[in-house]
C-alpha cells in the first residue's frame, strides 16, 4: 500500500531517517515504535507529504508521492495527531465535515456519514455542535478520528493518538480503536512509544532507532529472537515494571 525505498530525511543538525526501506501491507495495522527522536513521526509526515524525502522514493498504491499529486492523495489518507489538531474556530461537526463539504458532498450524505462515524467512535451526538475547547481530551481525539475517517480513506496514519490521554480514557479508547480497525479493515500505520499498546494493536511492529529500522515483526518474534542487543534492552525496559510487580508475593 505504502512503500518507502531508500528514504533519507536530514535536518540541519541531525538525520531523522537514514536510508529506510519499509513496506506497509494493505489491510494491516503496522505500529512504529522506538525511543524518542528515532524518526517515527518523520515517517508518517513523509507518508502524507508534509515533508519530502531528501533521497529515496515513497509510493502510495504504486504511485510516487509528488507535490502535484499530494492534495488528491491526501484525501485517500486520514491523519490523526497526538493533540488532535482540531480547528478551534470550527465546531466538532464542521471539523469533521470540512473536507467533505469542500469536495462537494451534499448535505444529506454529509450528515448521514457524521452519524455513522459518531456511532462508530462512540462520540455523543450532542457534542457535535460544540467547539473543540468545550470537549474533553478523549472526545477531541474521537472527533479527530472521525475527521480522518470522513472521506473513507484507504489508509489511516495515527501519530501517538492516545499519547495525551489519562490512563482510564486511554484504555477505553484503545479498545474502541482496535474494534474500529478490525471492523473497517483499513491499512493503519500507528506510532506509539508504548510496547504494550504496540502489541495490542499491531499485526506488525517496526522498531526504530536513530533513523534506522532495527527489527520488524511481531512482539513474540522480538522476544524470542531480538535482532540485536538494543532490541532486547528496549523490550526488557518496557517489561520491567510489570515483571517486578508479578514477582511480589
Amino acid at each position: 500500500m505504502i512503500e518507502l525505498s531508500h528514504v533519507t530525511k536530514r535536518y540541519v543538525e541531525s538525520t531523522a531517517l537514514d536510508d529506510c526501506d519499509l513496506v506497509i501491507a494493505p489491510g494491516e495495522t503496522t505500529v512504529l515504535i522506538g525511543p524518542s527522536g528515532c524518526g517515527k513521526s518523520t515517517i508518517l509526515r513523509l507518508m502524507i507529504g508534509l515533508q519530502l524525502p531528501d533521497e529515496g522514493l515513497i509510493r502510495f498504491s504504486g504511485q510516487p508521492l509528488e507535490l502535484s499529486a499530494l492534495p488528491a492523495l491526501r484525501q485517500r489518507m486520514g491523519y490523526v495527531l497526538q493533540d488532535g489538531g482540531l480547528f478551534p474556530h470550527l465546531s466538532a461537526r464542521d471539523n469533521v465535515t470540512l473536507m467533505a463539504r469542500y469536495v462537494g458532498w451534499d448535505a444529506q450524505n454529509v450528515s448521514r456519514r457524521v452519524e455513522e462515524l459518531a456511532e462508530l467512535t462512540h462520540f455523543p451526538i450532542d457534542g457535535l455542535d460544540r467547539f473543540p475547547l468545550e470537549l474533553s481530551g478523549g472526545q477531541q481525539q474521537r472527533v479527530s478520528l472521525m475527521r480522518a475517517l470522513m472521506l473513507d480513506p484507504e489508509v489511516l496514519l495515527l501519530d501517538e493518538p492516545l499519547g495525551a490521554l489519562d490512563p482510564m480514557i486511554r484504555f477505553e479508547l484503545q479498545n474502541d480503536l482496535r474494534e474500529i480497525f478490525s471492523r473497517l479493515s483499513k491499512t493503519v500505520v500507528m506510532v506509539t512509544h508504548d510496547l504494550g499498546e504496540a502489541a495490542f494493536f499491531g499485526d506488525t511492529i517496526v522498531l526504530l532507532r536513530g533513523g534506522k529500522i532495527v527489527q520488524r515483526g511481531t512482539l513474540q518474534q522480538m522476544l524470542n529472537s531480538p535482532a540485536d542487543e538494543f532490541v532486547a534492552r528496549f523490550i526488557q525496559a518496557q517489561r520491567a515494571p510489570f515483571e517486578a510487580m508479578e514477582r511480589r508475593p
Binding site: 491526501r74 491523519y79 493533540d83 482540531l86 478551534p88 474556530h89 470540512l98 458532498w105 451534499d106 468545550e134
Partner: protein
C-alpha cells in the same frame, strides 16, 4: 455520494456560508471601500473654475479672498486657502494647480529667483515669462520684513537699529519657520550684520507674537503690515545696513489666463494700485484681532474702495463641521481601504514566503519611518496638492500595522493546525480561506484598527497640503490665535478616533471566531 453542489452552494449566501469570517468585517470593509471610492471620485477635478491660492499667513489669505471675490464676478472661482510656504505655493502655480496668488517682489528676487539674482521688476518679468508666468503691477503697498521687539525692552536695552543687537548676544530670537530658512531671512541677516545670538529657533510666525507678548521671546521677524505691531506696541528696528529688499505686493499668475479666463483676469487686476499700506494693516487687524472672516473683510474692502458688491457671509460652524467631517472621512476611508486591499495580500505573501517577508516588512517599515510632514511634501511633485498626496501618504502609513499583523497572525497559528489543514488535502487557497484566515482574523483586524486610529490623527496634517479635513480649522486657529477654531478641529478629530476605535472593537467581537471566544467561558 458526491453531488455537483459546491461548498458555497447557491441558496446559501456566501456570507452565511462563512460563519467564521464574520459578516461584520465584510460590511465594515465594503462600507469603507464604497466611501473611499466616492471620495476618490470627488477628488477628481470638476470642470475648471479659476483656482486662487494663498500662502499660509493672514495677509496672503485676505489677498486671496480679494482675488477670488473679484474673479467670481466673471465666473466660478475657488480659493485654496493657506496652502503652505512660498516654495509650495509657487510650485503649485508653476505646475498649474493654482492659477494665481499674491507674492512680493523681495521674495521673488531673494528667494524664488535667488539663483538668477534679478535686479529689477523688468528682469523678474523676463525670467518668469520663460515659465509662462506673469506679474501684475504693484497692488499699492509694501509688506517688508523687519525685526521687532517689545518697545519697553528695546528702550531698556537702548536698541533702535538692527546693528544695536550686536551688543546683546543673550537675546532670545524666535523667527517664523520660513524666515529661518529663506535666503533673504536669518542666515543672510546674521552674516550681513554679524549677529552673535545663539538662542535662535524657528516657530510658527503667529506663535512668535504670543511669545513676545508673554516675554518668552525677545525678538522676532515681522511683516510691516502685521496688525500685531500696533496691538502689542512693538518697535520695528531700523534696517541701518540696508539688508532687507523691498517687498512690493503683486499678483503672480499664469499667462494662459488671458485666454482661458480673460474676464476673471481683468476683474482681479482691478486690485492693482488700490490697496494702501494702512488699508492692508487694517484688513489684517480685522481678521486677526477682530476675528472677522477673510471673505467678509475682503467683501467690505471691495464695496468701500472699488464699489464692487460681493455677497459674503460668515460660514456657519455647523456647515464647516460637516464639510471638514466629510473631507476627513474621505481621506481616512479611501487611504484605509486601499491599504487593506494591498496590505492584507502583502501580509499573506510574507507569511507564505519567509525570504519575501524580510523584504516586504522592511520596505513597509521604511515607509513608516519617514516623518509625516516630509512624506506629504515628497508626494506633492507626484500627486499635486490637495487630497492626492494626503491619501497616498496616509495609505503608506497604514500599510505597516496591517501587513505586520496579517503576517504575525498567520505565523502565530500553531504548526499542528496548519499541518492538519494541509494533511486533510486542502489546497493552499482553501486553507487560507477556511482555516488560516479566520484564525488570523482577530490579529488582522487589530492591525486595521491601529492603522485606522493612526490615520484619523495623521489626516489632520492633510490640511498642510490643501486636503482639508479637521486639520484645516486647527491650522487656521493657530494662524489666527483662535482657540475656538483649534478646538473645532481637534475635538472632532479626537472623537472620530474614539468612534473608529469603538467601531473596530465592535467588529472585533463579531470577527473573533466563536470557538476561540469560548476559551474565556471554560
Amino acid at each position: 455520494m458526491r453531488s455537483n453542489r459546491s461548498f458555497f452552494a447557491p441558496g446559501r449566501s456566501v456570507l452565511r456560508s462563512l460563519p467564521f469570517v464574520s459578516r461584520g468585517l465584510f460590511v465594515l470593509f465594503f462600507f469603507l471601500l464604497a466611501y473611499g471610492a466616492i471620495a476618490v471620485a470627488e477628488v477628481k477635478p470638476a470642470p475648471r473654475p479659476l483656482v486662487v491660492g494663498s500662502k499660509n499667513f493672514t495677509e496672503g489669505v485676505v489677498l486671496g479672498e480679494l482675488v477670488r471675490a473679484l474673479a467670481s464676478t466673471a465666473g466660478p472661482a475657488d480659493h485654496r486657502q493657506a496652502l503652505g510656504g512660498t516654495r509650495l505655493v509657487f510650485n503649485a502655480l508653476a505646475s498649474g494647480e493654482i492659477d494665481v496668488y499674491a507674492e512680493y517682489t523681495g521674495t521673488l528676487t531673494h528667494e524664488i529667483l535667488a539663483k538668477q539674482k534679478p535686479g529689477s521688476l523688468e528682469e523678474i518679468r523676463a525670467i518668469l515669462d520663460k515659465s509662462g508666468l506673469l506679474t501684475s503691477e504693484s497692488l499699492g503697498f509694501k509688506d517688508n520684513f523687519a525685526l521687532g521687539m517689545r518697545r519697553d525692552l528695546a528702550e531698556r536695552l537702548n536698541i533702535r537699529r538692527i546693528s544695536d543687537l550686536r551688543a546683546h548676544p543673550e537675546l532670545v530670537f524666535r523667527f517664523g519657520t520660513e524666515f529661518m530658512e529663506r535666503g533673504d531671512g536669518w542666515p543672510g541677516l546674521r552674516e550681513h550684520y554679524g549677529l552673535p545670538q545663539e538662542d535662535v529657533l524657528g516657530i510658527e510666525h503667529d506663535l512668535a507674537y504670543r511669545g513676545l507678548a508673554a516675554g518668552e521671546v525677545e525678538l522676532t521677524d515681522l511683516y510691516t503690515t502685521d496688525a500685531e505691531i500696533a496691538y502689542y506696541d512693538l518697535l520695528t528696528l531700523e534696517d541701518d545696513l540696508n539688508y532687507f529688499p523691498p517687498y512690493e505686493a503683486l499678483l503672480l499668475y499664469r499667462a494662459e489666463l488671458a485666454e482661458t479666463h480673460p474676464a476673471a483676469l481683468e476683474a482681479m487686476l482691478r486690485l492693482q494700485g488700490e490697496i494702501s499700506e494702512a488699508e492692508m494693516v487694517s484688513m489684517n487687524a480685522r481678521v486677526k484681532l477682530g476675528r472677522v472672516q477673510e471673505n467678509v473683510v475682503a467683501a467690505d474692502f471691495l464695496r468701500e474702495s472699488l464699489g464692487v458688491e460681493i455677497h459674503a457671509r460668515e460660514t456657519r460652524r455647523v456647515d464647516r463641521f460637516f464639510r471638514y467631517t466629510g473631507q476627513h472621512l474621505a481621506l481616512v476611508a479611501s487611504s484605509l481601504s486601499f491599504a487593506i486591499l494591498i496590505a492584507v495580500p502583502l501580509g499573506v505573501a510574507a507569511a507564505r514566503r519567509p525570504r519575501l517577508a524580510q523584504v516586504i516588512l522592511g520596505v513597509v517599515g521604511v515607509a513608516q519611518t519617514i516623518p509625516a510632514l516630509a512624506l506629504l511634501v515628497f508626494m506633492i511633485p507626484l500627486f499635486g496638492i490637495g487630497a492626492g498626496p494626503a491619501v497616498v501618504a496616509l495609505f503608506l502609513y497604514s500599510l505597516l500595522p496591517i501587513v505586520r499583523n496579517t503576517h504575525t497572525g498567520l505565523m502565530g497559528i500553531p504548526l499542528p493546525l496548519r499541518e492538519s489543514a494541509e494533511a486533510l488535502g486542502l489546497p493552499s487557497g482553501a486553507r487560507l480561506r477556511l482555516i488560516e484566515g479566520p484564525l488570523a482574523a482577530p490579529s488582522i483586524l487589530a492591525g486595521i484598527k491601529t492603522a485606522a486610529v493612526i490615520n484619523v490623527g495623521a489626516a489632520t496634517l492633510g490640511a498642510l497640503v490643501g486636503a482639508g479635513g479637521y486639520g484645516q480649522p486647527i491650522l487656521t486657529g493657530i494662524r489666527l490665535d483662535d482657540m475656538g477654531l483649534i478646538l473645532e478641529g481637534a475635538v472632532p478629530a479626537a472623537l472620530l478616533a474614539l468612534c473608529v476605535q469603538w467601531l473596530f472593537e465592535w467588529a472585533e467581537r463579531a470577527v473573533i471566531p466563536a470557538g476561540l471566544r469560548t476559551r474565556s467561558r471554560v
